[in-house]
Every structure is written in structure tokens, then in C-alpha cells.
């Protein structure tokens, strides 16, 4: 069996592996690297539960080969919290009850993080469009949208504070 040696940076840590070319990225993350926060839902690129970031772009990791991500920077749900401090999106999903069973949540948060990285102040419609590739069968999406709005506001406020601090130092 032909294997390929790959090197992938996941959440800042370099991982190496010898993999079959047909191995999917999601299986590499879960089975080889033990990062089981990334879920497998539909396995047909519909549901978005497996969403991670590859070189800053959100991707469905069930629809990407591990070898395609050779040399890439991958970020998963495990890379979101800063120690015991939840990422603003994680905290907002908690505060707004943005989950019930929680199965879609890791993918939903990763997709929301990508959305906010490309659009810091999305409208309600832009949030709904932005998570249209992520299915939730529990919540009806209302609280997910609220959670993303809360996180957007907090992250924008934090960014402004930071900019202000930099400006005052420069001034």
C-alpha cells in the first residue's frame, strides 16, 4: 500500500503522519491525532459538522483528503479556547443556548469564526447565509444566530479596545 508522508500544523502544533492518499482529513484529525471535537455527520459534504479551517478558509474536512492539507495550517474547535477561557463564540453559544444536542456545534462555531473573520459585523441575513452549509436539527437556528451576533459584538468591541490602546501608545 502506497503511503505519503505529510506534515500538518494543527492548532499551532506540527503533526506528522504516514497516510494512505485516500484518507480523509476528518479521519486524520479524529483517528490519528485524537482531535474528536470535529464531528462526522452526513459524510457527504452537506451538513458541515466537520467544518475546520485550512489555511484560514473554512472547509468540510470530510470532503478533503489529508494529503491535500499537507503543509497546511489547520484550525479545529480544540484550537478555539485560550486555556480555560472560552472563545467569544463558544461563550456566546453557551450564553444564548445556541445548541441542544451539540452535535453540529463544533462545525457551526468554526464556520461562524470564518464568517466573522471575513465580515466582522454581519447582518442577520448574512449570518444565516454564512451558516447555510451547516445543518442543525435541534435549535431552529434562532439562538445560533443570536450567539453569532453576540460574539460579533464582543469581538468588534475587543478589537476596538485593542486598536484604541495601540493608538494611544502611538500618540
Amino acid at each position: 500500500m502506497m503511503t505519503k508522508h505529510i506534515s500538518i500544523t494543527v492548532n499551532g502544533t506540527v503533526h506528522e503522519a504516514d497516510v494512505e492518499p485516500r484518507l480523509l482529513l476528518v479521519h486524520l484529525l479524529r483517528d490519528d491525532f485524537g482531535l474528536t471535537g470535529t464531528h462526522i455527520g452526513c459524510d457527504t459534504s452537506n451538513c458541515g459538522a466537520c467544518t475546520v479551517h485550512v489555511n484560514g478558509r473554512s472547509a468540510k474536512s470530510c470532503t478533503m483528503l489529508a494529503v491535500q492539507a499537507d503543509g497546511a495550517e489547520v484550525r479545529t474547535i480544540e484550537g478555539m479556547a485560550d486555556g480555560a477561557t472560552l472563545h467569544p463564540l463558544q461563550q456566546a453559544f453557551w450564553d444564548q443556548h445556541g445548541l441542544q444536542c451539540g452535535f453540529c456545534t463544533p462545525g457551526m462555531i468554526m464556520q461562524a469564526a470564518w464568517l466573522l473573520a471575513t465580515n466582522a459585523d454581519p447582518s442577520d441575513a448574512e449570518i444565516r447565509e454564512g451558516i447555510s452549509g451547516n445543518l442543525c436539527r435541534c435549535t431552529g437556528y434562532l439562538n445560533i444566530v443570536k450567539a453569532i451576533q453576540q460574539a460579533a459584538a464582543e469581538m468588534s468591541a475587543a478589537a476596538e479596545t485593542q486598536t484604541g490602546a495601540t493608538a494611544s501608545v502611538a500618540g
Binding site: 502506497m2 457527504t44 459534504s45 467544518t51 470564518w114 447565509e129 447555510s132 452549509g133
Partner: protein, 290 residues
């Protein structure tokens, strides 16, 4: 779902990729974004012996205008095309990528991959057919400029040869008086099109349509140019009456199959209606550009 085993190479340049495709002709598939190919591999509808990943090949993801052409690189993602300032001046093309799949699909899926895959319900072919774009097919031995109307042959079947790669898609630059639109309906966000119509019209100084292109997707074994609708339109003054005749002609040329997206009559009715609606917008845009 796990694909059948295959070898994988990631050539650094186009010459190397074309050499591999020649040597392994018939055994290899080109991997671009993967959002069409991977699902098919996982379902084992295709079992190529080798994947040639073209992600490292430079020069395939540019969008440029020359004196008379707009050239879109095959590895441009749907998202890149959606956000490109040049494409913003081509409203029919701009209409297409925002409706493809979902954000993750648009982040990785590419125009070249989409057209080479040739799903009968995919969106880009309708626009390429309406504009009569040319698909640039490169092999080690040749570079062919294949008109879109000769490229889409049947379901998942194109004029692309096994040792060829789609490198670019060429459109004519948008002249004064030209305007177009693409409209589709889908059952739910991110679904394949139930039906989609791309319409492109050019108006002469008197406001008469002197050129028309209509591409239809989702309602036949392969996306097609609605030639009968184009014949109805050329020479006519824009009006809802004229658009309805064109819509009836496009619907008549459709060969839809009844499936979960609806019965045959419904799909034909949607082709007629989408043709009317896209023509209305196309003509508005043509007027705004005259």
C-alpha cells in the same frame, strides 16, 4: 465512506502535470478543489488509479481582461470569482457563484473543476453556454479552445480528453449595450438547481435585441443552449410578450426528468418563468450599459 485506494501526486508545474496525464492516460483524474470529485470517489462512482492534485500549479487562478477577452483561470474558486472587482462588471457572471453550494463549497470549489465535472444541474455551464465562452483544454501536445456549446456533451461527459486539463475559460469582453442575468430555483439553500437560466442580450442603438444567448441547466441530461429561444429574441424589441415566447421555446427544448425536485411539467414551467425573469433583468442591465 472511504474512497477506493489510489495514488496521489502533486506536481509543481503544469508541464509536469500534463506529462503525468499523458503517461497515465485514462487512469488519472485531475483534483482541483475536490468538492465534486471527492463525493464521487467516496460513493465509488469513480475509481481512478491516480489523482493529480493541481493546487501547487501557479498561474491558473488569475482573472484578467485583455483587449477583447475576459479570462478566468480554471483554479479560481467560486468565492474568488464572486468577490473579484473585474467580475463585478459582468453581472451575469457575477450572479452565478454566490448561489453555488454553500460558503465552504465556494471557498474550495473551482470553476474549472465544476465544468470538467459537468454535473447536469451545475450553474457555471448555463453562463458559459449563454456567453458562448471558450474552454481552454491543454495537453502536452496541444492547446484547444473548445466552444462551450461543443464542450458539454452529456451527463458528466465533456469534450475534455483524458490527458487534458482545463486551464482557463475565455469570454468576450462585455460590449456596450450588453447585459445578462442568471437565475435559478432550488428546493433549499445549497441544493442543486431545480432549474437555472442564464440570459445575455445585446441591444442596438434603437433598443432592439441584436444578439442573444440563453443557457439552461438542471432540466436535461446536460446543460444546453436554448437556440430556439435565442432565435425568438434576435431582432425583437424587448417586451414581456417576447420574453414569454422565448421562455416557451426554452421550456420546449428542455428534457427534464421527474425526480425529488419535481415533475416534468413543473420543471418546464420553471424554465419558462426563469427565462422571462432573467431576460427582464438582462435587458435592464443592457440599458444601463448602453
Amino acid at each position: 465512506m472511504i474512497p477506493a485506494a489510489f495514488d496521489y501526486v502533486r506536481p509543481a508545474d503544469l508541464g509536469e502535470a500534463l506529462r503525468i496525464l499523458r503517461v497515465r492516460e485514462g487512469e488519472a483524474k485531475v483534483l482541483s478543489g475536490g468538492y465534486s470529485l471527492l463525493p464521487i470517489l467516496k460513493l465509488r462512482l469513480a475509481q481512478p488509479a491516480l489523482l493529480v492534485d493541481i493546487q501547487d500549479i501557479g498561474g491558473l487562478d488569475a482573472i484578467v481582461e485583455t483587449d477583447d477577452e475576459l479570462k478566468i483561470g480554471a483554479r479560481c474558486t467560486h468565492r474568488q470569482i464572486l468577490e473579484d472587482p473585474v467580475i463585478a462588471r459582468y453581472p451575469m457572471l457575477h450572479d452565478v457563484p454566490g448561489g453555488i453550494g454553500d460558503p465552504q463549497v465556494r471557498n474550495w470549489g473551482t470553476i474549472g473543476g465544476s465544468i470538467a465535472h459537468a454535473d447536469p444541474a451545475s450553474d457555471w455551464p448555463a453562463a458559459l453556454l449563454a456567453a458562448n465562452a471558450r474552454v481552454i483544454c491543454r495537453s502536452e501536445a496541444s492547446e484547444r479552445h473548445v466552444p462551450a456549446r461543443e464542450f458539454f456533451i452529456d451527463t458528466f461527459t465533456t469534450a475534455l480528453e483524458p490527458a487534458e486539463v482545463v486551464t482557463e475559460i475565455h469570454f468576450r469582453r462585455r460590449p456596450k449595450g450588453m447585459g445578462g442575468a442568471y437565475m435559478k430555483i432550488e428546493r433549499r439553500a445549497g441544493d442543486f438547481s431545480t432549474a437555472g437560466v442564464a440570459a445575455l442580450t445585446r441591444l442596438d442603438a434603437s433598443g432592439r435585441i441584436d444578439w442573444a444567448g440563453v443557457g439552461v441547466t438542471g432540466v436535461s441530461p446536460s446543460p444546453f443552449a436554448a437556440i430556439a429561444a435565442e432565435e425568438v429574441l434576435v431582432g425583437g424589441m424587448p417586451s414581456d410578450e417576447l420574453f414569454r415566447k422565448a421562455g416557451a421555446a426554452a421550456a420546449g427544448q428542455s428534457r427534464p426528468a421527474a425526480d425529488i425536485r419535481g415533475p416534468v411539467d413543473f420543471k418546464r414551467a420553471m424554465v419558462a418563468e426563469l427565462t422571462v425573469r432573467s431576460l427582464r433583468i438582462a435587458v435592464q442591465r443592457a440599458l444601463a450599459n448602453s
